[in-house]
């Protein structure tokens, strides 16, 4: 590698980091309504203080599966969308944001399936809401894993429509003249009923706790109005909120931005710290480190693939530099989550996927440093990319920084047991990925290269040892946690069994190798099977819906898991195919 090549390679990596940084920077000077600033307002939702922007993003993800959409030739982001939903529902109701894929559900609302993706607006749904609710209520008592496809789809649609309905009635009742009018007509005959509705439907609490009260006593608008009607005075945040509402309706950007500044002033007096916490989270939201990271991994993987046929001495280090930048972004993202949440990195299924990918990438970087054959880079980039894709899909169910249920509320055990066991997953997956690379190589590379084969097997073997150590220690730590919290070390609970299966499988691979029952290819086939075991114990056991650990239930992923298992079986077959199928014909006794 020449000097120039080295600089070019690291230049590419630096460029990737620069692009990631651009994502994190705030947009330029505000023109018109400061929608982003509105998204900065801290609220209490799901038991924690977060910026309104996070709620808007997660709600839009739940309803629309994306964080933005195009409407009338413009891209509408989460902050602008939530402004419309809350202050101008007549506009937001027309935007086609509800994705419905199930043909029976589409039939139920009297529409025809147009394309493979069908988008409907709340206005389209509104005349069928009663029917949707009726159908959903029949399906709800059935356990999620026993529902039919239609039942799952209708419950899902109902939940999304209800979320939208709540958002629409959080700051003002949809269809009413607005919050300012509500403040004036506080003594109205029907005011009390309206306050009641607002209290019940509120999706979040936006009024910060008043001095003298409990520090967590955030209120929603309905509660604020009720307190006001009861003669306890106007909550100081209600006035700027009403002005925000009026200015947005009147299309008066200057007054809107002024009211926003006043609102933030009120918040920072009542709850110092909430605003800066919200600001930090906004930076994290805007930077989207995991999305940027997976894009960089993807590019790194492509560059590496190209390097095998074109200019390897330049492109291989470039791919490594890109992988390194991806890892930096990924690490920063993880660190940001840890700081924002005040928790160790793995707290739910989503974050476990993020962490598994991170572990695999770091291991891959180390392996690449040791062997410098490009395989570490390839496998790490592929594993990082795949696991972040999985994480993106798991993250569509709402807030990924939700509060920990009582039994999980232990940072010590989350940091030890959960992290070690997840590193064990990373290792097993990385070994499996190396084995897949080995299998494919046998079939496409013509040159016999005993040394590379041996290096790959050494890598896989080393990583399996590593994975066995971490999954064993993690499992035993889990047993100790179980003994501390449930009074028994081992209860054959599905999740515990899943962890045990990984330990047993890695132990079988190592013993079979030590005893000489398997050699190169056998080890590799077994390593690929490790992927199946790990995927099943990671996700599969959650689908059974039994046991103490079944807090991460998911119904959609069943087909994805089946597909993954089949693909791994195919790779095993490819790996095990006899030598006459290889391009790389062994010459005599190679």
């Amino acid at each position: 590698m020449t000097f120039v090549q080295k600089y070019l390679a690291w230049g590419a990596g630096a460029l990737a980091l620069l692009i990631a940084l651009i994502f994190a920077l705030p947009g330029g000077k505000v023109r018109g309504f400061d929608a982003a600033g509105f998204g900065n307002i801290p609220i209490l939702d799901g038991g924690r203080v977060k910026p309104l922007d996070s709620l808007a993003r997660n709600s839009l993800l739940v309803i629309h599966s994306r964080q933005g959409f195009r409407y009338e030739g413009r891209t509408i982001g989460p902050d602008e969308w939530i402004l419309d939903v809350m202050f101008r529902p007549q506009v937001a109701d027309q935007q086609p944001i509800f994705v419905i894929d199930d043909p029976d559900v589409i039939g139920l609302i009297g529409a025809q399936q147009k394309q493979n993706r069908n988008y409907f607006s709340f206005a389209d749904l509104s005349s069928h809401l009663e029917e949707i609710q009726k159908q959903a209520q029949t399906a709800q008592p059935i356990a999620p894993q026993k529902r039919t496809r239609f039942q799952s789809a209708i419950v899902n649609l109902f939940d999304r429509a209800y979320l939208y309905y709540k958002l629409r009635n959080t700051l003002q009742l949809a269809g009413s003249p607005g919050l300012g009018w509500e403040l004036q007509s506080i003594t109205d005959a029907e005011a009390s009923a309206r306050h009641q509705d607002l209290m019940q439907l509120a999706a979040f609490r936006i009024l910060p706790p008043l001095p003298g009260g409990p520090p967590d006593a955030w209120k929603n608008v309905g509660e604020g109005l009720r307190a006001m009607a009861a003669g306890q005075g106007v909550h100081p945040a209600l006035v700027p909120l009403a002005r925000l509402n009026a200015a947005y309706l009147a299309n008066d950007a200057a007054s809107f931005n002024q009211a926003l500044a006043d609102m933030k002033g009120v918040v920072s007096t009542l709850k110092p710290g909430a605003l800066s916490h919200a600001n930090n989270e906004i930076v994290f939201n805007r930077a989207q480190p995991f999305f940027v990271g997976l894009s960089i991994y993807f590019v790194a993987f492509l560059v590496l693939c190209v390097s095998w046929i074109y200019k390897p001495e330049l492109l291989r280090p470039t791919a490594y530099a890109l992988l390194f930048s991806g890892a930096v972004v990924h690490t920063l993202g993880l660190a940001a989550r840890i700081i924002l949440q005040g928790r160790p990195p793995v707290t739910n299924l989503y974050s476990s996927a993020v962490f598994v990918g991170w572990g695999a990438v770091i291991l891959g970087l180390i392996v690449e440093r040791m062997y410098r054959k490009g395989f570490g880079t390839a496998v790490a980039a592929a594993a990082g990319f795949a696991s972040l894709i999985v994480a993106q899909n798991l993250g569509t169910e709402g807030d990924t920084m939700e509060m920990m249920r009582a039994v999980l509320d232990s940072n010590f055990w989350l940091a030890t047991h959960v992290v070690t066991i997840t590193i064990g997953y990373s290792g097993t997956f990385l070994a499996g990925a190396i084995a897949i690379g080995y299998a494919i190589r046998k079939h496409i590379v013509t040159k016999v290269d005993v040394e590379t084969d041996k290096a790959l097997v050494d890598m896989a073997y080393g990583i399996i040892c590593f994975a066995l150590f971490f999954s064993f220690v993690g499992t035993v730590l889990g047993g100790i946690w179980a003994d501390q919290s449930w009074g028994r070390f081992w209860g054959w609970d599905p999740k515990e069994n899943g962890a045990l299966l990984i330990v047993l499988w890695n132990a079988i691979i190592l013993h079979a190798r030590w005893a000489g029952y398997v050699r190169e290819r056998g080890t590799m086939v077994m390593a690929i099977f490790g992927n199946i075991i790990t995927a099943c114990s990671w996700f599969g056991v959650n689908m059974l819906g039994v046991g103490l650990h079944s807090y991460g239930f998911m119904d959609q992923a069943f087909y994805a898991l089946t597909g993954f298992i089949i693909s791994q079986l195919v790779f095993m077959a490819i790996c095990y195919a006899p030598a006459r199928f290889w391009v790389q014909k062994p010459h005599g006794k190679a």
Partner: protein, 386 residues
């Protein structure tokens, strides 16, 4: 001849093949046990697959269940033997010290699971706020309680476990003049009002004559309880007091009087009385602000133990159980609008073994890695010099 046989057995037990076959069997068992939990409940599946020597299956053409696969007990036992043989076989040199430690740690771990499987008793204690409870009760097992309620300040409790009721015949109650003749026992049954014109009940006294009993298959699922039901005839001093119906489905105990002493009969979950008592002073169920997500459950309990002259307050909360007199009490559930706290109680004499094992294995792995590292460093050094 004997020597070759012995050496063959020795060879068999220390072989890697055996290790791999057994580990594979264990994996299969773990998978089956996990899948079976959907239908059988955790406890049922664990008993069928893990805490048995053979997995048995009932075939329609055979009157008894046939073993079809080695159970967890057998696999575990063989694996332990294999481990011991292997450990003894590992070269007795310092370079293998790590492996020695790891494998002996695993033996301890298996032993721990054996002890748990054989001797662990799971019970629970439900207390309402202000109530004092001096017993733990079983989750599933039942008993017929015969209580001498003559003294208003003191109940003398005699109980007959369901396993004894299932055997039938007559059961003498020691310490009383009573003998119970078990007329019929149902492990699980459904009770309803006896419809007019139906064949009369076996019962002749108490509420029994008005109740119809239909047998139901026993359930093993975790959150279901069998409705154990029995027809018994108490006999004392040669005199019969009629046939009584006792069932989990009947609430109030029924009583009869013999020679001035009143005895009540009731079916209930099996109880174990303790030489100490717990009083629930406070139960807390905290949630995150503005949500229903539980943040914390805790029970403030007054432990009163007259034999130790002990009376103290203990806070039992999530991840913080109370270990007391060989039992572990941990916060498991709640009810009745947060006025009832349910503590799960586990008694496992081998609870320390996994901790010992954990230390041994971790230490072993560290030692082994240190040795390997030293060797490879030395090799590198030699290379440099040579």
């Amino acid at each position: 001849m004997i020597k070759t046989l012995a050496s063959r057995i020795w060879k068999f037990f220390k072989s890697f093949q055996l290790t791999i076959v057994l580990l594979a069997c264990l994996m299969a068992l773990v998978v089956l046990c996990t899948l079976a939990q959907v239908e059988m409940g955790t406890q049922g599946a664990v008993n069928a697959y893990m805490r048995s020597f053979f997995v048995k299956r009932q075939f329609s053409f055979l009157p008894f269940p046939l073993p079809v696969f080695p159970g967890g007990g057998l696999v575990g036992l063989l694996l332990t033997l294999n481990l011991i043989a292997k450990t003894l076989d590992i070269q007795r040199s310092w370079t293998k010290a790590g492996m020695w430690l790891v494998h002996s740690g695993l033996v301890v771990l298996f032993a721990g699971e054996f002890v748990a499987g054989m001797m662990q008793v799971d019970t629970n204690m439900s207390i309402e706020v202000g109530q004092t409870v001096n017993y733990v009760q079983s989750y599933k097992n039942m008993e017929l309680a015969v209580i001498d309620t003559t003294d208003p300040t003191w109940d003398e409790v005699y109980s007959v476990p369901d396993t004894l009721l299932a055997k039938g015949g007559s059961i003498a109650i020691p310490g009383t003049p009573l003998t119970l003749n078990v007329k019929r026992y149902f492990p699980n049954a459904e009770l309803s009002n006896l419809p007019p014109g139906a064949p009369p009940s076996l019962a002749t006294a108490g509420v029994g004559p008005g109740v119809s009993v239909v047998e139901r298959p026993a359930v093993t699922n975790d959150n279901e309880i069998n409705t154990g039901t029995v027809f018994v005839e108490p006999v004392a001093g040669g005199r019969s007091y009629g046939t009584w119906l006792a069932s989990m489905a009947l609430g109030a105990p029924q009583s009869f009087t013999h020679e001035g002493r009143t005895y009540s009969l009731s079916m209930r979950l099996r109880r174990q009385y303790l030489p100490y008592a717990f009083t629930l002073k406070q139960f807390r169920h905290d949630v995150y602000p503005g949500t229903d997500i539980p943040k914390n459950f805790s029970s403030l309990v007054q432990v009163v133990n007259p034999s130790q002259k002990e009376s103290r307050e203990v806070l039992i909360y999530m991840n913080q159980p109370l270990r007391y007199e060989g039992k572990t009490f941990y916060q498991a559930s709640f009810g009745k609008n947060d006025t009832l706290s349910v503590l799960s109680v586990v008694e496992n004499p081998g609870w320390l073994l996994p901790y010992v094992s954990c230390v041994l294995v971790s230490l072993g792995l560290l030692v082994h890695f240190a040795i390997v590292l030293r060797r490879s460093l030395k090799r590198r050094q030699d290379k440099k010099e040579g």
